[in-house]
């Protein structure tokens, strides 16, 4: 039994090149692959005692496909778009205001330790994120407008970062 680790992440898990993905299928394929390559499976064999390369690669692939942001980035990368083009440092001006407003709202709630406000923001952010993800699905799986998708990915990156900020703020208020 051998696993071809040179395959791209989608092929590795036997999944179609689509942004919209069946998470249960991903999880199942991940488990099945780890059952083959995890160092625990080979710890007792003299020739491949606990080799890690396979498990590292499979976990890398899983982490990349699991999150919408990294999955979209990876799809764009597969189309040959350069990483610089995907992660470019510019923000379309019309989103800049939105971003600054979000940031200020989070900062303010954080400053006054307002758990309710933070949770409200997290909820609103979730709805906003879901919208952006739906748009990304349309751009990647539907129209295949890669330029637009790259732009949307950057917005999703921002929303993700914001989410981490809210989570950190909430974690600080747990005690």
């Amino acid at each position: 039994m051998s696993v071809d680790l040179s395959l791209d992440f989608f092929s590795l898990f036997g999944l179609p090149y689509r942004f919209n993905l069946d998470e249960t299928a991903l999880d199942r394929a991940w488990h099945a692959l780890q059952t083959e390559v995890h160092p625990d499976r080979t710890a007792h064999l003299p020739n491949s005692r606990g080799a890690m390369a396979g498990a590292l690669r499979v976990n890398e692939a899983y982490a990349a496909l699991k999150k919408p942001v990294t999955r979209a980035q990876y799809l764009l990368e597969l189309t040959g778009m350069s990483l610089d083009a995907i992660n470019g440092n510019t923000v379309a001006p019309e989103y800049l205001m939105e971003q600054l407003e979000w940031r200020e709202a989070v900062e303010e709630a954080r400053r006054v330790n307002d758990v309710d406000a933070l949770e409200q923001l997290a909820l609103r952010l979730q709805i906003r994120t879901d919208g952006v993800i739906a748009q990304l699905a349309e751009e990647l799986d539907g129209q295949r407008d890669l330029e637009a998708a790259a732009d949307t990915v950057r917005r999703l990156m921002f929303l993700d970062k914001l989410r981490l900020g809210i989570d950190d703020a909430l974690a600080a208020l747990d005690n």
Binding site: A43, E60, D168, N175
Partner: protein, 620 residues
């Protein structure tokens, strides 16, 4: 990437001798060893049929060592040389340990990890733990009738890299081949899940003598996937004892107790706590060595009241783990209770209220960790049958990062990443012709490096001289299935390859372990002290350099009155670095670090502001 060849099932696992493997629960209060016998996990007992061994080591004046129950009798008569709860000191410095004032030991502050001075000389927590592990190894070998192939040793899930390294070192020092360090709640989940053929998302709530872990696991068709873990490595039954002890001191109107009487009072406190689990009130009554009498009565209501903050404290990691897993309390199918301290009724009630369901207490909370570890050990040595497929996918509990400009930590591997995991990041030189680059590896969730645990510092040398920004230095973090980190760095833009591979600095090298085993642990402390001093000197140098640079670029952020004490501390640290007093040097480093905290924060603000005006998405 190459094809990975995996042996056909059964190919080389073909009929082989049953290998002897054990699981060891090295607990704060109690340690156990278990094995799988005829397909069933069992704890191995001592000559008197007892499976738990109190984690107590007594160093006798005549050079002998007593362990476990045998060491219990000197608890009170020789507290300084009778070490309990040594797990609390593993991989920790003096500043990390809580309630140190109530402990009877003579501590030595050594960089990285504290040490204890005993009648048999200076002992590190690693050596003391190794005594316990050696006793368990001997118990297992006597009981199984042969040498062990290997052992799985459990650690609290929330142990950081320093604490894990220390545990691994202790096991090797005890002559064990460590098959795996396994997280305690994961071990419990294995024992529970395989016992009950469970499926779904479970929480494991593990409150032992000294540590608290909360792990959330998804069990699907033989795969135990940890979704998130959190905890507090300094919270356990000991802290409940301590509250009662303080309460007794307040109410008994006695003089400040001697070390012996403090131990008496602590042991009485534990007994009272355990009694209150089954009865509504308990007498706190004893006669002290000083001749004084303590005669108090504690009700459940008193005890629950004084320890409510501790129970609340356990809910903090619970909330954080749920948030990280993206789950609500109602998503949890069952809460498995592990650890002796979960027997306390108010702990059970708090858990039941939080999750809206009664916790699962049908497995023996004392044994379940050792039993799960033995199942994993059995699998790792290749004893299990081919149809007995199950797999553990565990995570790293705390983020790993590198120090960047302004004393900030840049996360390279996020907490809760599934193991094994590797991540790389590229850095570049900032001076023309720069041939070396230094790195500082830290672990923790906080933004400022000063608030995280420092794991290692290293320098990559031999970078070919190039223009600033032209070199490509790739730093790779790799965490193996034990949760242990290794870091490598190499310059990739030129054919010339400078590369370095480091393990965090406080761990022992293989040579050091071998040396310690050979020399009967005699000289190891001197070697360690010398190395510790060298490490401190390197750190001092690095700090001085960083300060000089920060002051040169952002010095105007400080007023004159703010600047003067920093300059004075810099001058003093320079002098200390030239001497060979590691403790003084370490204090000097700490003082300068503290004094520059505010400065670092201002520099961080400035960086953030600059980023915002530049509309740089990375900083937004």
């Amino acid at each position: 990437m190459a094809l990975l060849q995996i042996a056909e099932p059964g190919q080389s696992a073909a009929p082989h001798k049953h290998r002897l493997a054990v699981g060891i629960d090295l607990g704060t209060t109690n340690s156990l060893v278990a094995t799988v016998r005829n397909g069933i996990a069992v704890c191995l007992t001592d000559g008197q049929g007892r499976s738990r061994m109190p984690s107590v080591v007594h160093y006798r004046e005549d050079g002998g060592i007593e362990l476990g129950f045998n060491a219990m009798s000197t608890h009170v008569s020789d507290p300084r040389n009778t070490i309990v709860s040594v797990k609390r000191f593993m991989g920790r410095g003096l500043a990390d340990v809580t309630h140190i004032e109530a402990m009877p030991y003579v501590f030595e502050e050594t960089p990285g990890m504290l040490r204890l001075r005993t009648v048999q000389g200076s002992k590190s927590p690693v050596e003391i733990s190794a005594e316990l592990l050696r006793a368990l190894r001997e118990r297992a070998e006597a009981s199984l009738g042969g040498e062990l192939t290997g052992a799985v040793v459990t650690v609290p899930a929330y142990f950081d890299d320093a604490q894990r390294q220390a545990t691994r070192d202790a096991a090797r020092l005890a002559g064990l081949h460590v098959l795996r360090l396994l997280n305690e709640p994961t071990a419990a989940a294995v024992a529970y899940g395989l016992d009950n053929a469970s499926e779904g998302v479970y929480a494991v709530f593990d409150l032992g003598g000294g540590t608290f872990d909360l792990s959330i696991l998804k069990l699907t068709r033989g795969v135990f996937e940890v979704l998130a873990t959190n905890g507090d490595t300094a919270l356990g039954g000991d802290d409940f004892d301590h509250r009662l002890y303080c309460w007794a001191l307040d109410h008994a109107r006695i003089a400040p107790p001697s070390a012996e009487d403090a131990r008496r009072l602590q042991m009485a406190a534990r007994a009272v706590k355990e009694l209150l689990t089954v009865s509504e009130e308990a007498p706190f009554r004893l006669r002290l060595g000083s001749g004084e009498e303590v005669d108090l009565t504690v009700t459940r209501a008193d005890f629950f009241g004084m320890t409510r903050p501790l129970v609340q404290k356990t809910l903090v990691p619970v909330k954080r783990a749920l948030r990280d897993a993206g789950l609500l309390p109602g998503d949890i199918k069952g809460v498995v209770m592990v650890g002796g301290a979960t027997r306390m009724p108010h702990v059970q009630r708090a858990v039941a209220e939080f999750f809206g369901q009664e916790p699962l207490t049908n497995l023996d909370p004392d044994k379940v960790v050792a039993l799960g570890a033995s199942m994993q050990a059995n699998a790792l040595v290749g004893n299990r049958r081919e149809d007995d497929h199950w797999l553990l996918l565990d995570v790293i509990p705390l983020s790993l990062g590198l120090e960047t400009m302004g004393g900030l930590s840049e996360k390279i591997i996020p907490r809760n990443a599934t193991l094994p995991v590797a991540r790389a990041q590229e850095f570049t030189t900032f001076k023309d012709g720069q041939t070396a680059m230094s790195f500082h590896v830290v672990q923790g969730e906080r933004e400022l490096v000063a608030d995280c645990r420092s794991l290692a510092r290293f320098e990559l040398r031999g970078i070919p001289p190039m223009a600033a920004g032209a070199a490509r230095v790739r730093v790779t973090f790799q965490v193996d299935a034990d949760g242990l980190l290794s870091v490598s760095a190499c310059e990739t833009s030129t054919g010339v390859e400078a590369s370095i591979h480091v393990k965090p600095s406080y761990g022992l090298t293989d040579d050091e372990i071998a040396g310690m085993l050979r020399s009967g642990l005699e000289h190891a402390s001197d070697d360690l002290a010398a190395r510790a001093l060298r490490e401190q000197q390197v750190e001092a140098e690095r700090l001085l350099e960083a300060c000089a640079q920060a002051l040169a670029t952002d010095g105007e952020l400080l007023g004159e009155a703010e600047r003067a004490p920093i300059d004075a501390l810099i001058a003093r640290l320079r002098q200390l670095a030239a001497r060979d007093d590691a403790a003084a040097l370490s204090a000097g480093i700490a003082a300068l670090t503290r004094a520059t905290e505010e400065f670092a924060a201002r520099r961080m603000n400035r960086t953030l502001r600059a980023a915002l005006t530049g509309h740089n998405i990375d900083e937004l």
